[in-house]
Amino acid sequence: DQQVKQNSPSLSVQEGRISILNCDYTNSMFDYFLWYKKYPAEGPTFLISISSIKDKNEDGRFTVFLNKSAKHLSLHIVPSQPGDSAVYFCAASAMRTNSGYALNFGKGTSLLVTP
């Protein structure tokens, strides 16, 4: 049962333009959302997070938007750079007594930023 869904397996964007990666979730108990970036042969690296009490969080070129009513979040990267080319995973969690804040991950979106 996939509780976090990234419906676009890949995305190609020109350098300097905006990249928008989307994520949907089904579990209304999720209250903490994260984006991770993954390069080949490396583990996922934390990028940015947002709590359910907010609808926007910004960190430099990266902004995450959360729409709780639609159970949807998105990651905006602007301006996009070739070094941003990687697989981006959306993740969500809810506090569970036995599993702490174990994350539920989407299947990832592969972003390619072309010069």
């Binding site: 976090v4 990234q6 042969a41 583990g43 996922p44 934390f46 997070s49 709590s51 599993s99 990832g108």
Partner: protein, 115 residues
């Protein structure tokens, strides 16, 4: 500072053999998670350790899988009688625990291939 360290980075084993994967979490991180990523899939939660509490094993796919965490630090994931469907990248993550959620920090993973 040192991140999460996993060994080996690659492991090829014959079907039916047992394997042990090791994880050294970030010093001071009390929470430790094991995930795996099969080809084309997202990250699948396997097991969670928090301090000296009993682990949450709810994600382990079968009783061939087990994990230990000694002294609240190093963890080993053991797969007995490996099967070809066990082939995946096994990722370990650690995090601080506090009054709210904190990001998980991942190692680079162990790529397991069962022939």
């Amino acid at each position: 500072g040192a991140g999460v360290s996993q060994s080996p980075s690659n492991k090829v084993t014959e079907k039916g053999k047992d394997v042990e994967l090791r994880c050294d979490p970030i010093s001071g991180h009390t929470a430790l998670y094991w995930y795996r990523q099969s080809l084309g899939q997202g990250l699948e939660f396997l097991i969670y350790f928090q301090g000296n509490s009993a682990p949450d094993k709810s994600g382990l796919p079968s009783d061939r899988f087990s994990a230990e965490r000694t002294g609240g630090s190093v963890s080993t994931l053991t797969i007995q009688r490996t099967q070809q469907e066990d082939s995946a990248v096994y990722l370990c993550a650690s995090s601080l625990t506090g009054t709210g959620p904190t990001p998980l920090h991942f190692g680079n993973g162990t790529r397991l291939t069962v022939t």
